[in-house]
């Protein structure tokens, strides 16, 4: 596994992410490709691509209110990105962040509504922890299936993502989360004021969840570099096959990776529901989990890089959300833009293209 020692299959090890400028260049090319492709489609659809794209820029950063909204959207994306980084680094391709986010939001809502009469200094921390526990629970199911039943993490993640949607929909239909006579209206009761995360930028929607998200990459970084768990995670990433046959990859270690990753994604769901939306329902997430994966890859699997990756994805998301309404563009535009960008970036990072020696995601032997 010489390639590994050079930072080969595991381009996600912090400190081995290669020159930042190369990454910036790759993202720029990927984004240009995405905007060019969608621009042509928008043009042939009889709309003005220039005004559409300037609309996206304005929607993302046009005024303080919109900037704050971009940061609000960035919060869950960053947290799910970190959840993805932690588990990808162990070469376990669990893409269940979306489901963990929903279950995290579910647990947080449940805690907040159950303790609605308690003072804020009890209900808020309990609800936040409950959110993380929810993510852990959901991720843990995938982890148990992976370690004890040999179920591929990708397959279980896809299934658990869907199951979580039906679970949330089912539970908000009635008490204790929904109204007694909801009449099929699948939305929870409002989060009590005491449990809502405080606004940190007066006059906007930016809440304290953003601070949690901003601190998280540094926590993840320290855990990965300085702790036994982090060491095990990186060891797994370096030589997956060898580690497995040598028995290095103990079940407890694998499960703790699932737990750590799930806690981060669960927190993402918790900050969405406690910090911004205040009600649990389907549509709580416009795909924060998927965008988190994209942000993680854009940031080359580096926790600090994920900050910029998630800012980029959040800007595209918030920009298009504002623009699609006013300009009659497809609401799926953001997914196409992000999709082409990330595929372009991943393609450009190929070792064979010789753009960079270290950024490749390729996995080869010898």
């Amino acid at each position: 596994m010489i390639a590994s020692e050079e930072g080969g299959p595991d381009s996600t090890v912090p400190g081995k992410t290669g020159p930042i400028l190369v990454r910036v260049f790759e993202v720029a090319v990927g984004a240009t490709l995405a905007f060019a492709t969608t621009g042509i489609i928008i043009y042939f659809d009889g709309k003005d691509p220039i005004s559409a794209f300037s609309g996206i820029a304005h929607g993302a950063f046009g005024n303080p209110f919109l900037i704050a909204l971009t940061l609000v959207q960035m919060t869950p994306i960053l947290l799910t990105a970190l959840g993805a980084i932690v588990i990808f680094k162990a070469q376990i391709w669990n893409i269940g962040q979306e489901g963990q986010l929903y279950v995290g939001a579910l647990f947080a809502t449940w805690a907040a509504l159950s303790l609605s009469t308690s003072p804020w200094f009890i209900v808020m921390p309990v609800a936040v922890i409950a959110g993380a526990v929810g993510g852990i629970a959901w991720s843990g199911i995938g982890g148990i299936l992976y370690t004890y039943f040999g179920v591929d993490a990708i397959i279980s993640a896809i299934m658990l993502n869907y199951i979580s949607l039906f679970l949330v929909h089912f539970l908000v239909l009635g008490p204790p989360l929904g109204e007694v006579n909801s009449g099929g209206n699948a939305i929870s009761l409002a989060i009590p004021l005491a449990a809502r995360l405080p606004i940190i930028w007066p006059g906007t929607f930016l809440d304290a969840g953003f601070l949690i998200a901003l601190a998280a990459p540094f926590v993840v970084y320290v855990v990965l570099i300085r702790t036994t768990l982090g060491y095990s995670i990186r060891a797994m990433g370096f030589s997956q096959t060898a580690a497995r046959y040598a028995g290095v990859k103990s079940r407890t270690t694998v499960l703790s990776v699932f737990v750590f990753s799930g806690a981060l994604s669960g927190l993402a769901g918790c900050v969405v529901v406690l910090g911004f939306q205040y009600r649990l329902q389907l549509g709580l997430s416009p795909g924060y989990g998927t965008m988190g994966i994209i942000a993680a890859l854009l940031g080359a699997g580096n926790p600090i890089g994920a900050i910029f990756g998630s800012l980029f994805t959040a800007a595209l998301l918030n920009g298009t959300e504002t623009t699609t309404i006013t300009q009659g563009l497809s609401s799926f535009l953001v997914q196409v833009l992000q999709g082409i960008t990330i595929i372009g970036v991943v393609a450009l990072s190929a070792e064979k293209l010789r753009l960079t020696e270290r950024l490749h995601l390729s996995k080869r032997r010898k």
């Binding site: 869907y162 994966i293 497809s330 990330i342």
Partner: protein, 311 residues
């Protein structure tokens, strides 16, 4: 009462099982070939989505169903080619690229619907009708269950048998399996490893295209952005379930579809299960089926997901 029960329940259950399993069978055959040659193509769901989109648009533009299927195949093979370029030629991580392409396809399908089709629920102008096999379809009970289906159902069964034969009884099959099991040895025997992988990847796209077209032109001739949800992912799971043997994968597809159809038919029998719980069932079923075989995987292509580079 008895004859009515037979009509509605038995025929509905078994006939429905076969119709539901078709995309899974096609998908898992293609994926089996791919994985046997060492390529884990997780863009299968995306390829099916592209197959469905192109198949639907093609059939509705030309008015010809088989031209539609051809378009679907081209669409799915297009995505297979993109996957092949990224993972075989550029040697990128198959898992990441596959997942990204599948995620990307769901966005594209929504985008395409709004831009090309201008609606999120369109009934196909043309659609396949079941093709009863003469004489055989006249057999009581068995006839309607086995011999009164879309032509794809028969094709799926023939394709399973044919793919088993090709994979285990022909030199092509041996080549494909050797490329997945020991590409270096295969290379030393003069087999062009990456070319074989390209062929199986494109074949995977071909089968996914048929699967996608079938769903929107025959199974439910309506196009929505949820026409294909997880059929591709189930097919990927079935490949492992079947230990990389297309016949066992087909049996898995039938078990899955049968259970799913059975659960759904409970509803018509007056057993009330909340819709959400009912909707969870196929996903839970996949997890259970995978968990049953997960640790007993046999005959795994040893070089799965590892790119081959000529030294």
């Amino acid at each position: 009462m008895t004859s009515e029960f037979v009509q509605v329940f038995v025929i509905g259950l078994f006939g429905g099982t076969l119709s539901l399993s078709v995309p899974l069978i096609f998908g898992s055959i293609g994926e089996t070939f791919g994985q046997r040659s060492g390529v884990m193509n997780l863009s299968l769901n995306g390829m099916m989505i592209f197959g469905a989109l192109f198949g639907f648009v093609g059939a509705n533009l030309t008015g010809n169903l088989w031209l539609g299927v051809l378009c679907g195949i081209i669409g799915a093979m297009g995505m297979a080619a993109l996957f092949g370029f990224l993972c075989i030629t550029l040697e990128l991580n198959q898992t990441i690229v596959g997942v990204l392409l599948s995620l990307f396809a769901t966005g594209v399908i929504g985008f395409a619907e709004e831009v090309i089709l201008k609606s999120d629920y369109i009934v196909s102008k043309v659609s396949f009708t079941p093709y009863p096999i003469p004489l055989l379809s006249g057999i009581p009970i068995l006839g309607p269950i086995l011999f009164n289906h879309y032509v794809f159902v028969y094709l799926a069964l023939i394709a399973t048998a044919a793919s088993y034969y090709v994979l285990y009884r022909t030199s092509w099959g041996l080549t494909i399996r050797s490329v997945g099991a020991n590409p270096k040895a295969a290379h030393s025997l003069g087999i062009r490893v990456n070319r074989v992988r390209w062929y199986t990847t494109l074949f995977n796209g071909f089968m996914a295209g048929i699967a996608g077209s079938y769903v929107v032109l025959a199974f439910v001739p309506v196009f929505t952005n949820t026409s294909i949800t997880i059929e591709g992912w189930i097919s990927v799971a079935l490949v492992t379930f079947g230990s990389w043997n297309p016949v066992v994968a087909m049996l898995g597809a039938l078990i899955f579809s049968g259970t799913e159809t059975g659960i759904l038919s409970l509803q018509t029998q007056g057993i009330l299960i909340p819709t959400d719980i009912l909707s969870m069932m196929p996903y839970i079923l996949v997890l259970v089926m995978y968990a049953v075989v997960g640790r007993k995987k046999r005959d795994v292509p040893t070089e799965l997901t590892i790119p081959f580079r000529q030294e």
